[in-house]
C-alpha cells in the first residue's frame, strides 16, 4: 500500500509517476492519470516537431525500442493547450532543447502557469550540432543547462539523465542540493536490424530501449546512489515485482512508461500490490 511520498518541495499522493512520452500531454484518455502521484507531459520543445519518420517502434527481447523523435506541439501551442487544461494529478512538464538557452526560455515562459507543479529537464535530447549526442552528455553540458534553467524558474526541477551520461558521480554530487530530484534514466540508445533485409527497422535507424530488459541496469544505479541522492527511478518498471524492487532499492518515486503502454490499468495493480 504505497502512500504519499515526498521528494524535496514536492509531495506526491503516491510514488507512481506516468512517464514522459507515454501519456501524451498528461491527457492520455485511456490511462487513469488521476490515480498517479504525478504525470509528466511529452517533452515540449521551443518549436513544434513532427518527430521521426516511421517505423518508430520495434519490440526486442523483454523490451521496446522507440524513435518517436520528440513529436510535440511546441511551446506556443502548449501554452494554448494549458489555458483550459484540467490536470488529472500533479503536473510535471518535460522540457527539451538543444542548448541551455532553449531550456531556460521554456521554463521561464511556463513559470507563471500555476497548474504546473514542476519541470522535468529531458537531458537526453539529441544535439543536432554535435551529431546527435545527448545535450546532457557530461558534467559540463549538464551544468550549463541546470545553471540556465535554475535562474529562469521558481518551480522545482527534476533532472532526467541518459544512462550513458559521463561523470555521473560528479553531476549528482554537485547538483543534488539544487534540484528537486534526479530521474535515472531515460531510454538506452539502441536499434534493431531486420535479419532478412539487413536494414535497420526504425525509420530513424536508432532509438531508445525501454522495458523490463533494462531494469537490472537501472536498479543497480538506483541502489548505488539512493543513499546520498533524491532519485526517481525510470526504466523497465512494468511489473509489480519490479516496482517493489525499486522501492526497496531506495527510489523515492517510480516513473512508469512502457508498463502503461502495455497495460493502461497497470496503475491499479501497482496501487493494490506495491
Amino acid at each position: 500500500m504505497a502512500g504519499a511520498v515526498r521528494l524535496k518541495k514536492l509531495t506526491l499522493k503516491n510514488p507512481f509517476i506516468a512517464s514522459s512520452g507515454t501519456c501524451g500531454y498528461a491527457d492520455a484518455d485511456l490511462i487513469p492519470l488521476d490515480k498517479f502521484g504525478a504525470a509528466v507531459t511529452k517533452t515540449i520543445t521551443l518549436l513544434p516537431r513532427q518527430g521521426n519518420r516511421p517505423p518508430r517502434l520495434v519490440e526486442t527481447p523483454a523490451g521496446l525500442v522507440n524513435s518517436i523523435g520528440l513529436q510535440n506541439m511546441g511551446l506556443e501551442a502548449f501554452k494554448q493547450f494549458l489555458t483550459d487544461f484540467k490536470k488529472p494529478t500533479t503536473l510535471i512538464v518535460s522540457v527539451g532543447g538543444e542548448s541551455p538557452e532553449d531550456f531556460a526560455t521554456i521554463v521561464e515562459e511556463l513559470n507563471t502557469y500555476d497548474l504546473i507543479d514542476a519541470f522535468e529537464l529531458n537531458l537526453s535530447c539529441p544535439n543536432v550540432k554535435t551529431g546527435g549526442e545527448v545535450v546532457g552528455k557530461d558534467y559540463v553540458t549538464v551544468s550549463n543547462i541546470l545553471e540556465a534553467s535554475l535562474k529562469s524558474t521558481t518551480k522545482p526541477l527534476l533532472v532526467k539523465l541518459s544512462p550513458f551520461t559521463e561523470q555521473l558521480d560528479k553531476i549528482l554530487q554537485h547538483w543534488e542540493s539544487k534540484v528537486e530530484a534526479f530521474v535515472l534514466f531515460n531510454t538506452f540508445p539502441a536499434m534493431d536490424i531486420d535479419p532478412r533485409s539487413g536494414k535497420p527497422v526504425l525509420g530513424a535507424v536508432s532509438g531508445g530501449l525501454s522495458g523490463p530488459a533494462i531494469y537490472p541496469i537501472v536498479l543497480n544505479s538506483i541502489y548505488k546512489y539512493s543513499k546520498a541522492h533524491t532519485l526517481v527511478a525510470s526504466g523497465g518498471i512494468a511489473t509489480t515485482d519490479i516496482a517493489k524492487k525499486f522501492i526497496m532499492a531506495g527510489a523515492r518515486a517510480l516513473e512508469i512508461g512502457t508498463g502503461n503502454l502495455w497495460n493502461p490499468a497497470f496503475i491499479e495493480m501497482l496501487l493494490k500490490e506495491v
Partner: protein, 229 residues
Amino acid sequence: MLNETFKLEKTDLGHYVVVFFGPVAEENLPQPGQFYMFYKEYVKKPFSVAFLKENRLFFIIKKVGPFTSSIPDEVRVEGPYGKPFPAVVTNTFLISGGAGIAPICFLAEKLTEQNLPFTWLHGESKAENLILLDYLPVKPNKVSVEPTLVTDLLPKEAQFYCACGPKPMLKGLHSKWGTNGFVSLEERMSCGFGACYGCVIPTTSGYQRVCKEGPVFEAGELLWQELCV
C-alpha cells in the same frame, strides 16, 4: 472497453490460424475495422476482428513472426480500439489481400446484415491458403491467386472501395481507382490506444496515429508517396 485475460481457441490452417475468445459483453463488441491488442509477457500485438459468432470474437491471423507463429494459449486482451470502416454505403467494393481479409470479412458481414449489396475481391499468394474461406461466414465474390493480383480483378471504372492488405496492393488500388475509398493500414504498435505516438503514418495533416485516427483512413488523406518506401 475490454481489458481482460482470455483463453484462446485456435484452429491452425497452416498459413493462417483462426482464433477466437469470448463471449464478451455487448458494450465491448467492435465495429468492422476495429482491432484488439493481445498482450503476453512483454509483447503486445494488434489484430482485427474478422467476424462475430454469439458475441465471440473471431480473428484470422497470418503466421509471419514469433508471436503469430506460436500464439499463446492465454492472452490479456484490450479493445476494441481504432476507427471503424463506414458500414453504411451501398455497392461498396471490398478489396482484401492476405491477412487483410480479417476486417474486410467483418465489414462484409455487417453489410450483409444490413442488406447492403457489395462486391468483395480477395487476393492470396497461394492456392492452398484458400482453405481459409471455408471458415468464413461470408465469402468473397472473386479470388485471385498469384501471379494474378487482386488489383488485376478490378473493373476499369473507379468504384467506392474499402480495402485492407499489403501496402503494394493498396498502392496499386489507389493508382487504379484514386482516392474514393477507405483503407485500413498497419503499423507497428506498442500501446494501441493513442498514448505513445509510435504507430504514425504520413497524412495530409501530418503524422497521424494508426491506432487512434486510424486504422481506417480516407484514401485521400494519405501521403501515398511517402507511405510506401
